[in-house]
Amino acid sequence: MALLQISEPGLSTAPHQHRLAVGIDLGTTNSLVATVRNGISVVLNDENGRAMLPSVVRYATDVVVGEAAQAAQSDDPVNTIVSVKRFMGRSLADIGDTSRLPYRFVDTGSMLQLRTVAGVKSPVEVSAEILKVLRLRAEESLGGELVGAVITVPAYFDDAQRQATKDAAKLAGINVLRLLNEPTAAAIAYGLDNASEGVYAVYDLGGGTFDISILRLSRGVFEVLSANGDSALGGDDFDQRIHCWLLEKNQLSVLSPQDTRLLLTLARSAKEQLTEHVDARITAVLSSGEIIDNVITRTDFQEMSTNLIQRTLQLMRRALRDAKLGVDEVKGVVMVGGATRMPQVQHAVGEFFGQTPLTNLDPDKVVALGAAIQANLLAGNRSSDDWLLLDVIPLSLGLETMGGLVEKIIPRNSTIPTARAQEFTTYKDGQTAMSLHVLQGERELVSDCRSLAQFELRGIPPMVAGAARIRVTFQVDADGLLNVAARELGSGVEAAIVVKPSYGLSDAEITRMLQDSTQHAQDDMQARAHREQQTEANQLLDAVQNALDQDGSLLSESQRSEIESRMTALKVTLPLADHLAIKRAVTTLNDATVSFAQARMDKSVKRVLSGMNISDLEIK
């Protein structure tokens, strides 16, 4: 009887109240939707029995999505958008070389847009078209309206890319229950399916991105210990290697876009053949009439892709170090993404960990399956085997401080949700506004990190330099999205911003930033020392000048000219790259001001004491 099923409202639902929720894998190449049916996660197929929806949108008289759009790709390249995921949260400048892309880009200065026959479209709108098709497929298949969806994103997606993905879902009429990292989704599908316990690594090599996550699975808890990745490394790069090999073999230099596309397509199918066979034959007739006929062996392919695989292993080592774990502590390695089907990838990963990687789940579907399981939980369809998911933020978040340096506020691999407050102060006397520049990345200099947002805190009451206390709070929610607030503690003046930047990091930028962060650790330390020294010098110069203006009368003529000449000496060293020279000049000036500072101190003590009575003095 229903009367016996007493439960807290909203926490538990009777079977007939099952809330319809789905998991969506919004991929670069293909997208999928899955749901939990009778306790089992299943991918939902279209009316033709196909699970994968090509992530292609064509704008014609109608909007066409999927296979039909893909078929029109070569006829109508301008209005047929493929791999739109690469444009999410990106400006045109972020994309870099667009000469080989057939689109009519609109440079807005913020997120790029695409001019089509149906008007100007943003990547968010294009992605929303893909999501709408998946939502309809799910609603028809499940026979009702969706409560919400979990949408997966690469673990290495930054704030702008995550925000753009969430916006696309909203535009498609989907209530986003959570943005979930792709490797984490895979771990859920795998872990629950196999009742796994222990430390697992998820190696996720997709069409255009590489993610690595290290998780600890224990009864009822999935805890991400560290995440790393490269958002410009994927299966496409392996195609590119075969493509280059073909060019070299046939001594080809400049090809037409059509020939390039032809050879890339053939390279891809050769790559796929080499998964099952020891060699593959590539034949083609180019537009010049030239005939291509080559046989590529598995050994050839292995050799030309060694560097790509080494790069993934390098990132793996870093992820393990961040998790403070050794290779031997990893109990299993879950392979995700179509590109992990390549035998040389499986072999290299197996050798690295000294064990055979786990491939018993379909690498194309495991992300969607895991997302569906999480969606079912988040929608409130709680079962007895409830679990907890603890994920992390992949890139550090910080603020610009004096001298173009980044002060890290939230370090990478912090468990989310997380918040951190840091106090800053004013740099100049009477400063009434403070500009806050929010950055993401691992490097120490602002110019090497990604700018997420800029805003100002105004109305700080005028005080002497260093007296104001401005507390800046960073809050990262469970979707990995950032919110920043600033408050002057004395006056209560406040400013806040939901960091919703108009564009994010380019793939190449993230890669560069990652490489740079380690390659230039030394340069950074030098540069940091230099800037800190410059900042200190400027502060000292300001302070001494102020003191001279206020209390110059306390000095004799010769004392004053001594100080002034040393100020000039310091100013001369400022533009120099030699931070030790600046340091010496700072010390010299400091030495010259010791007696002046003493005289000022005496004067101000007298001034303060003259306005006080005995009882005031007894407090301290």
Partner: protein, 178 residues
């Protein structure tokens, strides 16, 4: 959820004794039990207000857990509960032999990096771990037994040096990787 109290100190939050010596298994069990109650995933289907509250609670639990789990942060926090400031930014007076030892360690790390010698780096990392453990044991003694919080603050300042050196070793490993 009604019983969740933001004003509790972190030890109290996890039902642990307020001391430096840590029952790390107990901390972990309590952390998971608390997150299982407050994590935003538990209220994703509820109102915006419920979700915001969950985010704040879960954030606090994460912060409390990270603070207690880290030996240096735990010491800093414990001393702050005793109104002792560790003065890591302001008090730079250090015993000269400690500073000399630190300089030598830094130079050894730098040399290992220059020579691209992973095993030398491993040796320095192991050395640092031993030294850090010894300092932590001393810290436990000063806080839990002797209750000399000023002496403990001095040890935290030393630990901060070790922490920075550990960061340098980590970036040296990254560099050798490339």
């Amino acid at each position: 959820m009604q019983s969740f109290d933001f004003s509790k100190d972190f030890f109290n939050l996890f039902g642990l004794n307020r001391c430096y010596h840590l029952d790390s298994a107990g901390l972990e069990v309590q952390f998971r039990a608390l997150q299982a109650r407050v994590h935003p995933d538990k209220s994703a289907h509820l109102s915006d207000a419920e979700q915001r509250l969950a985010m704040q609670r879960s954030t606090l639990v994460n912060e409390a857990y990270q603070t207690l789990k880290s030996p240096i942060r735990r010491a800093r926090y414990l001393l702050s509960l005793h109104d002792v400031d560790t003065q890591e930014e302001t008090n730079t007076v250090m015993p000269i032999d400690f500073l000399m030892a630190q300089m030598e360690l830094r130079e050894a790390v730098e040399a290992a990096l220059q020579a691209q010698d992973i095993s030398a780096l491993d040796e320095q990392a192991a050395h640092l771990t031993t030294d850090t453990r010894a300092l932590e044991a001393e810290l436990a003694e000063q806080i839990d037994t002797v209750q000399n919080y000023q002496a403990a603050a001095g040890l935290v300042r030393k630990l901060r040096f070790m922490e920075k050196l550990a960061e340098e070793i980590a970036s040296a490993y990254d560099e050798l990787d490339n």
